[in-house]
């Protein structure tokens, strides 16, 4: 009996080690891919790996990144948020337009409040009324774009005296040599990652995404938790609007169009499952950066900007397929 127990322990140990190595490799797969991309692009263009180019790419990617941080939380909770694109248009137009009317502080406060209200509406419909998140946020995507056009009367907005305001600092400023958008992006990513990994709140969101029924049967307030994920998403959109508005000091009324897909692309590329219950902010950050570097690399190689749409999605489908193949393989080798 004792010896049987002993050998069993032995098996389990070696199993754990092997699984650990496999997990490590598959978890780092996306990072390996990232490094290969960087290497390939650096061969074709000398500027690609220059410090200024890298900083430019990261700064450009930070708007998508900031939004993706919030949407990742929604997705881990088992839902989708497609409304972020037009929400970004709404918030950017609002903050730029109000800047000259009520001053930067008031504009920022009002913009955050109204954006959060849109998030609350999403949260109400998905969390409390339990409507399908795909349909709700798709409807919101269209509805909010309508709202923006009504508000702006179809006009683009801008800030008249751009040299008289400190507002531009959020998009153009530097702190200790680092661009402010990158700082905002990094801070948000770190804070949200810490919340998701180390707090009870994060644990609950993972549980809801993993099995919403079992989460409710464990006494978790699912409605509130789902609601809160949409509030986080909206908060991130508001931050992104601040950066975007301050960088351009003006806004087209459809400035956020297509962002929802880019955000989703970054998240999928990073490897967060759209089924919920798994994923991380780190993965999303890496996914968003890969996206940024691919686009930048293609531009430096002289391809027109629209090729990036094609290439990006081909890569995403490849990534999803590889991920699935990997999962199937693991399913087959693991006994149930």
């Amino acid at each position: 009996m004792a010896s049987a127990e002993h050998t069993k322990q032995g098996f389990m140990l070696s199993k754990k080690h092997k699984a650990g190595l496999l997990n490590f490799l598959s978890a780092q797969g996306i990072l390996v891919f990232f490094l290969i991309c960087m290497f390939a692009f650096s061969l074709t263009s000398e500027q690609f790996l220059s410090q200024s180019n890298i900083m430019t790419v990261v700064r450009q990617a930070s708007i998508i990144g900031i939004i993706a941080v919030g949407v990742t939380v929604v997705i881990i909770g088992g839902n989708l948020d497609l409304s972020v694109g037009s929400m970004l248009s709404f918030s950017t137009v609002l903050v730029v337009d109000l800047h000259d009317k009520i001053g930067p502080v008031g504009a920022i406060l009002v913009m955050f409040a109204l954006t959060l209200m849109l998030g609350a509406l999403n949260g109400l419909l998905v969390g409390f009324m339990r409507l399908n998140s795909l349909i709700v946020t798709l409807a919101m995507l269209s509805a909010i774009q309508g709202l923006v056009l009504i508000y702006s009367g179809g006009q683009n907005v801008d800030i008249a005296n751009q040299s008289d305001t400190w507002f531009g600092v959020f998009g153009q400023g530097y702190l200790l040599g680092i661009a402010v958008p990158i700082i905002i992006f990094s801070l948000l990513a770190i804070i949200v990652q810490v919340v998701m990994s180390f707090t009870g709140y994060g644990r609950r969101i993972f549980a809801i995404g993993g099995n919403p029924v079992a989460a409710v049967y464990s006494g978790i307030r699912k409605n509130w938790c789902v609601f809160s994920t949409y509030m986080i998403s909206a908060f991130c959109v508001a931050c992104a609007a601040l950066v975007l508005g301050a960088r351009v000091m003006g806004s087209q009324n459809n400035v956020g169009q297509g962002y929802e897909l880019l955000v989703l692309a970054g998240i999928i590329l990073g490897g967060t499952s759209l089924l919920g219950g798994a994923g991380s902010i780190w993965k999303t950050v890496i996914g968003v950066l890969i996206l940024g570097f691919i686009q930048n690399g293609l531009l430096l190689m002289g391809y027109p900007y629209y090729t990036q749409w094609l290439v990006t999605w081909v890569i995403i489908i490849l990534a999803v397929w590889l991920d699935l193949a990997n999962k199937r393989k693991r399913l087959l080798t693991r006994h149930s």
Partner: protein
Amino acid sequence: MSAATVTQASDAPGKAEAPILSLVNITKKFPGVIALNMVSFDVRAGEVHALLGENGAGKSTLMKVLAGKHKPNGGQILLEGKEKVFDNPKRAKKSGIVLIHQEQSLVPEMSVAENIFLGSLPKKWGNLVDWKRLHRESTEILDRLKCSFSSKDMVSDLSIAKKQMVEIARALVFTPKVVVFDEPTASLTDHEKPVLYDIINTLREQGVGIVYISHRMDEIFHLSQRISVLRDGEYNGTVNTADTNEDEVTKLMIGRSLEFDHASKPKDFGDNMLELRGLTVDGMFRDVSFSVRKGEIVGMYGLVGAGRSEVAETIFGLRKPSGGEILLDGQVAQLRSSHEAVAQGIALVPEDRKDQGLILGMNCRDNMTLAGLETVSKNGFMRPAAEKTVYDKYQQAMKIKTPGWRQKVGNLSGGNQQKIVIGKWLHTQPKLLILDEPTRGIDVGSKSEIHALIKELARTGYAVLVISSEMPEVLGVSNRIIAMYDGKVTAEFDGDAVSEDALVQAITGQYVTSAGKPDDQPAA
């Protein structure tokens, strides 16, 4: 029952007849684990050969090797004396080996006939479905199984037992030589089982070799001619059913014998912990009144669909009562959500551990602490050390077998999964513990451990409500038994002074007591 065993055993060929199927020295390795080590097993035509073993002993793996779902690392499969290699499930099926699963794999929104012939619908005029032939052939198969429903019935309208018959009917399409039943009675009530037994016996008489996997000794002794036992992935012997008894088989299986003690039930209880007064949920159950005292185990017995789980869910705040009240510790409780129920000290170990009890993709520790996150966190931040302590405590107390806390619960066996769910609720230190079918699909070893645990919990002052469809379980653990039929409480019995007949009558609506009288109207 013994008479039946003897006659069946005499039907079986006693002499060494060539088996229809032999598995010889099958070895299956998974990364780091030897799931099967040189296991041999054979089935003769026209016999029921029971395969026994604790959860994780390798029964399911062996059957998956047989059905072509797993590729063995060594050994041979001989069908009618010829070596076969099944590299996919389809080939195994075509050769006449059919697996009937624990989990049902029917398409609910299709007719019985379509389900039976799913993937091999008869065609005419090129690629159109030949509906006439489909229903004719389906009806033939259903007749063979003596089924009472039509091939045109919708699967979603059938009871669980009838759904299982559809699964079996599906197996007959391929004129099987060997049929494997993997825990076929796990979701059947005592009532529905004889129908399944009849089908198995019909198949056996038609010369089919049957492998029967179950945790239930009574079934195995009732049905089988031979019993083989697996333990920790190794073959541990075959016995003739007629020459053995439950105790001997249990010893083969777990290396010790089990004692099922009815005697050690305490008699003094505290005040009412839970009291229901005329609790009603429209369309589910009505006018349900009973109480559970501190230190008492109350069993709730009834058929699937009698409203038992719904009562539990209402107490747990998941359903809104349309009438009546719930009193907790003497106070009327307003429970609007599971969150409030947990806060008030109610715990529910739900019926379906995979869908309701666990986050399968999460690890053991995180599942264990999920219902009591406040106690293992500080200012909202998790304290990993505290979590580990909680996990270790219940892992040791309940002897949960896992390679470590990082293991995903989806990879554990049923018994260990159930212990994690129970541990999760013990951690919340509830006043009232409700267990809905606590041992469904769990091997006898884990089962008796869970029963012992339930009794121990009651002894330490928990008020426990156990819902079960298994009479031995209800009789074995309960101090008092509430019988439910068609959404109503039909009778209440003293757990030590109740006859099985009275219980069966009570749950089928034929028993009249002061507690409630059955009538012909279904619950509103």
